[in-house]
């Protein structure tokens, strides 16, 4: 998933990068084929290099000493993203639906939710404004409903026409979804289409992993597995402590004593 997503990033592009998977994906791309990308975080940071330690999240204080610009959210969400200077946005999410709408708000009705998540942060802005949004998340059938309970981040809403009707710019919208099972793109109506599957997963498995009748691209096939070089850079350079690859990241399952 991390490697597949990183491969979608073109060198010299300007990226809005969200918390969680987008951090490691963008830093891997920067360390591999895309050294000239510009990484922007919602709090007002423009990175100048791969940080001295991998950020836990985009507000990690390590960003303070690894940036060429530390400013306000207007500098990144405002002038880079809303201003039309970003090429791409990278996001995680709790769930994604058939038209690429993302929910990180709640399960159930918004006013009396069964489960409540953190909320949008800048995610709604990313999805509203970026020319190409890439959504990165672990595959799990519960994360792929036909229609999300709350649109935290607009994808194509009920289809591309609906997105344009809402007033969002026609040049914007979801570009790809990358999961632990495969790579998805969107058709001319804004519906998610399986474009390639992980070498270890079949098309059938992927289809069973979503809650609607998933469209499959006519040229669907397996993704190239991560190369040795990609894995080496990921494990030795980008995340040598395995923060993003092991449970250590969440400090879960360890006894926590203060």
């Amino acid at each position: 998933m991390i490697v597949s997503a990183a491969r979608l990033i073109e060198d010299k592009s300007v990226l809005m990068v969200g918390t969680q998977w987008p951090i490691i994906v963008s830093l891997l791309a920067m360390s591999l084929h895309a050294p000239g990308i510009t990484i922007c975080y919602e709090g007002g940071a423009v990175l100048g290099k791969v940080p001295d330690r991998i950020p836990f999240f985009t507000g990690d204080p390590v960003v303070n000493s690894s940036s060429v610009l530390m400013g306000n959210s207007f500098d990144t969400l405002g002038m880079v993203l809303h201003g039309g200077r970003a090429d791409m946005a990278l996001l995680s999410g709790a769930s994604v639906d058939r038209y690429g709408n993302i929910n990180t708000t709640c399960v159930g009705d918004y006013t009396s939710p069964k489960i409540r998540f953190g909320g949008s942060g800048g995610a709604c802005d990313f999805g509203s404004l970026a020319p190409r949004t890439i959504i990165i998340l672990e595959h799990d059938k519960r994360r792929f409903p036909e229609e999300v309970d709350f649109i935290t981040t607009p994808g194509y809403l009920k289809g591309k026409d609906d997105r344009i009707r809402s007033g969002l710019r026609a040049s914007t919208g979801p570009y790809a979804v990358v999961t632990t099972l495969g790579l998805f793109r969107f058709d001319e109506k804004g519906e998610m289409v399986l474009r390639a599957h992980n070498p270890t997963a079949s098309v059938r498995e992927v289809k069973e992993g979503v809650q609607w009748d998933l469209k499959v691209h006519k040229d669907v096939g397996p993704l190239d597995p991560p190369s040795e070089e990609e894995l080496r850079v990921l494990r030795e350079q980008v995340d040598p402590g395995g923060m993003y690859l092991r449970e250590a990241r969440l400090l879960k399952g360890r006894e926590v004593v203060i």
Binding site: G59, P61, S73, R116, G118, G119, T153
Partner: protein, 321 residues
């Protein structure tokens, strides 16, 4: 420049400038959060506060859990590990310890609302939010916020109108401040410049109190000018367990500990007794952490090069004095 010194202890600042029912802005975008001030608000048992915070982390979670918050204006609320902010979730899903009304936005929209609040602009039009759940008009999501949707008179496009959000009091922890309230901050500043300025009163908590000369030797670093500030509190380590650029790292294990200690209402109350109710002030709190732990949070020095603003005492080529 106003020559009234505004230095006072935290207890006095909160007592004098935060009232029950106030709309409170809490500054710091992930970094520089006013934890010490928030704990004092809880200790003083303030009631019925509206808390407005662009990026709400475990300080807001504690304020909610302690029952001082009746309304929350925000873009997200979580424990930045990242994991769940349990008190927030209990309040929203089970009304424990009480009902908290939520007014939600995206970060950019809330930044624009604070900006409009700081400048008292009637509204600002944007192309974000449209079609999302925050666009109550299009999605009928049940969201409550102040946004309106109109057709632009310039080009006929559908736009989102963001009105001002203003606050009674704003509180933020910064690196340094002079006794008159001229506050300087660096690091990730998110929405704070406009958030603070959208407040009638401002309380600045600072790692260090410095002479006004320090401020005047680098006035571009000033976040808020003294005349806008009501109180200045010297409160080193006031943002722990959050980070302060140049002063201390985020205390990650504390956030994991907090996650564990807040999974139920019961354990949360024990947590609060230990860290808030049974501490009289920040010194007591820091005592619980111990000097060794604090020192381990200190980053290596990473200093800026000084810059000169140039001192000019006579007019070049013009007879003077």
């Amino acid at each position: 420049m106003s020559k009234d010194k505004k230095l006072m202890p935290m207890s006095e600042a909160i007592d004098r400038y935060v009232a029950d029912g106030d709309v409170l802005y809490l500054g710091g975008f992930i970094q520089q959060e006013p934890f010490a001030a928030g704990h004092e608000i809880i200790r003083q048992g303030k009631k019925d506060l509206t808390v407005s915070k662009c990026a709400a982390l475990i300080l807001v979670d504690q304020l909610i859990g302690a029952g001082v918050v009746s309304r929350l204006i925000t873009t997200f609320t979580w424990n930045p590990l990242p994991t769940t902010a349990h008190c927030f979730v209990r309040a929203v899903t089970k009304q424990i310890p009480g009902e908290v009304e939520i007014e939600e936005y995206s970060i950019l929209a809330l930044n624009l609302a604070y900006f409009a609040g700081a400048l008292d602009l009637p509204y600002v039009a944007t192309k974000t939010i449209l079609g999302s759940g925050f666009d109550g008009e299009q999605t009928d999501s049940g969201v409550k916020n102040r946004l309106r949707f109109e057709t632009s008179p310039f080009n006929g496009e559908r736009v989102c109108l963001v009105p001002p959000i203003k606050h009674d009091v704003g509180i933020m922890q910064v690196q340094r401040c002079d006794p008159f309230g001229n506050a300087q901050a660096w690091g990730m500043l998110g929405e704070v410049r406009y958030g603070l300025q959208s407040c009638d009163k401002v309380i600045i908590c600072a790692e260090e109190i410095v002479d006004t000369d320090v401020v005047m030797r680098d006035p571009n670093r000033t976040l808020v000018p003294g005349f806008r500030v009501s109180a200045v509190v010297e409160e080193p380590w006031g943002s722990h367990p959050g980070p302060m650029a140049g002063y201390y790292d985020m205390d990650w294990p504390y956030h994991a500990y907090y996650e564990k200690e807040t999974r139920t209402e019961g354990v949360f109350q024990e947590f609060m007794k230990k860290w808030v109710y049974h501490t009289r002030d920040r010194k007591d709190y820091l005592g619980l952490l111990g000097q060794e732990r604090l020192e381990a949070l200190r980053p290596e020095n990473f200093e800026s090069d000084p810059v000169s603003y140039g001192k000019l005492t006579s007019h070049f080529g013009v007879p003077y004095a």
